[in-house]
Amino acid sequence: MSADGPAAGGGPPLLEVRGIGKRFGGLQAVHDLSFEMTRGEVLGLIGPNGAGKTTVFNLLSGFLAPDDGEVRFDGRSLAGLKPHAVCQLGLVRTFQIVRPFPHLSVLDNVRVGALARRPQMAEARERARAVIEQVGLGAKARQPAAGLTLAERKRLELARALATEPTLLLLDEVMAGLNPTEIEAIVGLIRSINASGISILLIEHNMRAVMTLSGRIVVLSFGEKIVEGPPAAVANHPRVVEAYLGEEYVHAPAR
């Protein structure tokens, strides 16, 4: 594996991001960003707060249209596609601030996702049940989503996305706000999802988790990619340290 390219693998990349950019008024949220993902890969997307990570998710999932550049998924351009169409192609995202359907039960929440590929209600229900078991919410299936704890709501968010049977799953900070035990459990869950053949693009602030899960990491700062490579190389890269801690820290004499 080279530090600046995706893991070696046959066939075209699953996801190709080519020079995408997005401006909000005077703010360049994302600038000339390119990276690729191969099938089966877990790619971490990290960077300080405000680096543009969630904007990247919005650009990939059709919630925002890029000003420049192009996103290709599974060999086809996503230009002009609405989020629901992107999801139908097999690229689904979760939200950083979870958005459960509060008055619906856990099962009904997940069923909405399952209906994307299984239009028959009974079949969708079955699929939803299986996914709920997989994420460990089986005991809560009949409870309204509004009554779940944060950790459970994160799992629900994950379950709903998973129920759409994606090939690429975009996870936006599914570990934020969880305690170490809960994080460990969700890391195991993400690993098992990946093992079932689903590629994962992960935005995460929990460095330990992102380092263990990701085969490669892309680091964003002020909307630009500053480093890309395997976790070990990224963690010690001076530009990454600089982005997180400031320039002075990098040049400070070691004690």
Binding site: S61, G62, F63, K82, P83, H84, A85, C87, Q88, V92, R93, T94, F95, R99, P100, F101, P102, H103, L104, D108, R111, V112, G113, L115, A116, P119, Q120, M121, A124, R160, A161, A163, T164
Partner: protein, 316 residues
């Protein structure tokens, strides 16, 4: 629950044998407004898109079948479908403008009210449809002209409309279409992310809802025999349509019916007791008070509250 509904329907079918003519009239209003409320329920209750201009669809359906009957000799039994189709066409325009441009909440309410008001003003100023004088249907008592000597015929038609609309809504609720509408009401963006074409499903709900409401227009026209733009396109009628499902339980199959059984007799009673002494409109005050009470104490409406009681009783 199912047997209870079948029993209730049997009672309603048998009831006219014992009712006097006035009581039959009261039931006709209950059924008819329950039907309109059910049609609204699909887009306003399930999909959560608050249309406050559904009178526009009643009016379009009513004028269409009345004019086609008077001027082209078309039987209202077919005119009913034409009226429904024209109302659905109007619903498509309103829905497209609202949903394509992302009008939500009050902005969608204002859009729907504006369309109903445009219809009212156009009808008021179009002499070909009677203008401000209104449009009158000559009574022939001919069933082929949707006219009946016996009030009970209207009773059964109104009951049929209510049951049919309720069946349609119940069938939709059990399918993907219904599950998606409820999810759209809960969180539209989350739906989009999960592969739901929210625009398409909101449009579909609007089309079905406006079609049914337009069909109701024919009943309105051939039951009352007169169409006044201010009544049939007016904001008060839109309010009558909206308030029953909200009081009964918007987004539930039985909510609009329950709401109509609560409100229609109330409106009728206040018309009788207050109407004569120059107090007409007193029922609107009652509506206002009831609506405040419902929003404060039963924000999901009467039906969900009843259901909770029922479940509690069953558990005990």
């Amino acid at each position: 629950m199912r047997w209870l509904l079948v029993a209730a329907l049997a009672v309603l079918l048998a009831l006219p044998a014992w009712l006097n003519s006035y009581a039959v009239t009261v039931f006709i209003f209950i059924f008819f407004y329950a039907f309109l409320g059910q049609a609204w329920n699909l887009v306003g209750g399930y999909a959560g898109q608050l249309s406050a201009g559904h009178a526009a669809f009643v009016g379009v359906g009513a004028y269409a079948s009345a004019l086609l009957s008077a001027q082209a000799g078309l039987t209202p039994w077919i005119g009913m479908l034409v009226g429904g189709a024209l109302a659905a066409a109007l619903g498509t325009v309103v829905g497209y403008l609202g949903f394509r441009f992302g009008l939500r909440g009050f902005y969608f309410v204002l859009l729907t009210v504006a369309f109903a008001e445009i219809c009212r003003i156009v009808a008021l100023n179009t002499d070909a449809v009677g203008g401000a004088l209104g449009f009158y249907i000559t009574f022939t008592g001919n069933p082929r002209q949707f006219q009946f000597q016996d009030n009970r015929a209207y009773y059964y038609i109104a009951l049929g409309l209510m049951v049919a609309a309720t069946g349609i809504v119940a069938a939709i609720e059990r399918r993907r279409f219904g599950a998606y509408l409820i999810a759209i009401r809960e969180d539209e963006q989350a739906c989009e992310a999960l592969g739901v074409n929210t625009f398409r499903y909101k449009m579909l709900a609007m089309v079905v809802s406006s079609f049914l409401t337009g069909v109701g227009g024919t009943f309105y026209a051939f039951y009352l025999f007169s169409l006044q733009p201010n009544s049939v396109f007016g904001i008060p009628l839109s309010v009558e349509i909206v308030i029953r499902p909200i009081v009964g339980g918007a987004g539930t199959v039985l909510g609009p019916i329950l709401g109509s059984f609560i409100l229609s007799p109330l409106a009728e009673a206040s018309r009788i007791y207050f109407g004569q002494g120059g107090w007409s409109g007193a029922h609107l005050i009652a509506y206002g008070l009831l609506l405040i009470a419902v929003v404060l104490f039963l924000p999901q409406g009467a039906y969900p509250a009843l259901r909770r009681l029922w479940v509690k009783a069953a558990v005990r």
